[in-house]
Amino acid sequence: MKKRVGTILLGAFLLGGIFLGFRSYQNSFQTVHITNKSDFVLTLYASKSSEESIDYNKSVSYFSTSTPGKFRVKKDDYVYTVSSKDGAYQPFVKAVTVDTKPVSLAIPSLAYTDKKLDELLVVEEPSIKAVIQAKYPAQLSVYSVGNGKLYKNGQWYGAKLVPNDPNTYDTLRIILKKDRGTWHIMTTPPEIVISQPIYPNIPLDILTDLNNFR
């Protein structure tokens, strides 16, 4: 009788231990929700140092996916990257910590690479210059449109208006934006410096690049 009770108790302890061990193992993982688009690849890497660092070992990835879904990932610090399959977008890198709560990773809004923007510029610039010419026909007899550049996803264009006589006239800046297939001048009149307090809808990084006097 005592032997039987002992055996039952031992069995109960063993089962309890196995169960607790299994639960502990399960709790060391967390769910990561991926919201992805088929044109992009999201890859999760182990972080080399602490939380918030984007230093990671590029040769060791936990998983790489182009489809949305749920993944069970060990609780730890990671770095995830998002890159486009056609290389048209700038890569994205961010640190993420997988801990007590489920984590959602979504594809952020990515900007085109400089190469892609340069390719787009060749296509877009003639119609952009036509818009500027239509608005300022007289002024473009003493100015020319130069250093044109596309920004973000190619929907912003900035250029310098360079005077034929730089001793008399200032170099000015102009910004256009493409909306529903048509380019619109966003800064009237063109100015030596285009300021964000006056044009709060124009991203500051575009203005800083265009206003660069170096």
Partner: protein, 220 residues
């Protein structure tokens, strides 16, 4: 006699309990009506100005307002004071808002001359508002103390931000650059960036001596 005393005591006790109860109910109603709202003290000079909060007429004093953006106006047209408007952002913290209807008309000036107390209070509030505004601007623009800049070829000084789009309760300055040649204007902007440490894109800059042929009405 004893019975009368007992009745009197009971009556006094009942009246006292009744008063406490009424006071308690009143305080509860007041507390409930103010729940989720913030105390905003509105001062105006003239002190009997007509004040509106989001279009509803009220008067100066403490008002309990829900968090968010609200438009306040103050005017006293009978005495010649023009309307002044202010958009405020209300959060959890109590605020004091001073409104000074504009006193540009002769009637308003006569009113202030005839009411020295109001005039004095107006000056005091005006001084407080100026001090508050100066502190905000100094924090936002640490380089203000370095202005004006007078060097060979250009001058840079502080000016009102006439073209900046301001958010509610915000204040801004502009930089005004006097430079007679395109090259000097470029040097001035580089000075703003390199010596004052400001991204020229982040502040309104007005060029005094520039002829911009792209501006309407300016000929080549």
């Amino acid at each position: 006699m004893d019975t009368m005393n007992n009745i009197n005591k009971k009556l006094v006790a009942l009246i006292f309990i009744g008063l406490v109860g009424i006071f308690g109910v009143y305080q509860s109603v007041v507390w409930l009506s103010h729940r989720g709202k913030t105390a905003i003290t509105i001062n105006a000079v003239p002190s009997n100005s007509v004040i509106t909060i989001d279009g509803e007429q009220t008067g100066p004093g403490v008002h309990y307002i829900e968090p968010g953006r609200h438009e306040l106006t103050a005017a006293h047209e009978d005495e010649g004071f023009g309307k002044v408007s202010r958009t405020i952002s209300v959060d959890d913290s109590p605020q004091t808002i001073n409104l000074l209807p504009s006193a540009v008309s002769d009637k308003a000036k006569t009113f202030l001359a005839d009411n020295p107390d109001e005039a004095s209070r107006r000056e005091q509030i005006g001084g407080e508002e100026f001090q508050k505004s100066s502190e905000i601007l100094s924090r936002k623009y640490p380089f203000i103390g370095d202005l004006p800049v007078l060097t060979r070829g250009f001058t840079i000084y502080q000016a009102d931000a006439a073209r900046t789009k301001l958010a509610a309760g915000d204040a801004a300055i502009a930089l005004r650059i006097e430079a007679s040649t395109p090259a000097d204007r470029v040097r001035a902007v580089e000075w703003v960036r390199d010596q004052l440490g400001i991204d020229p894109s982040a502040i309104e800059i007005d060029f005094v001596d520039q002829t911009n042929v792209f501006q309407p009405g300016v000929s080549l």
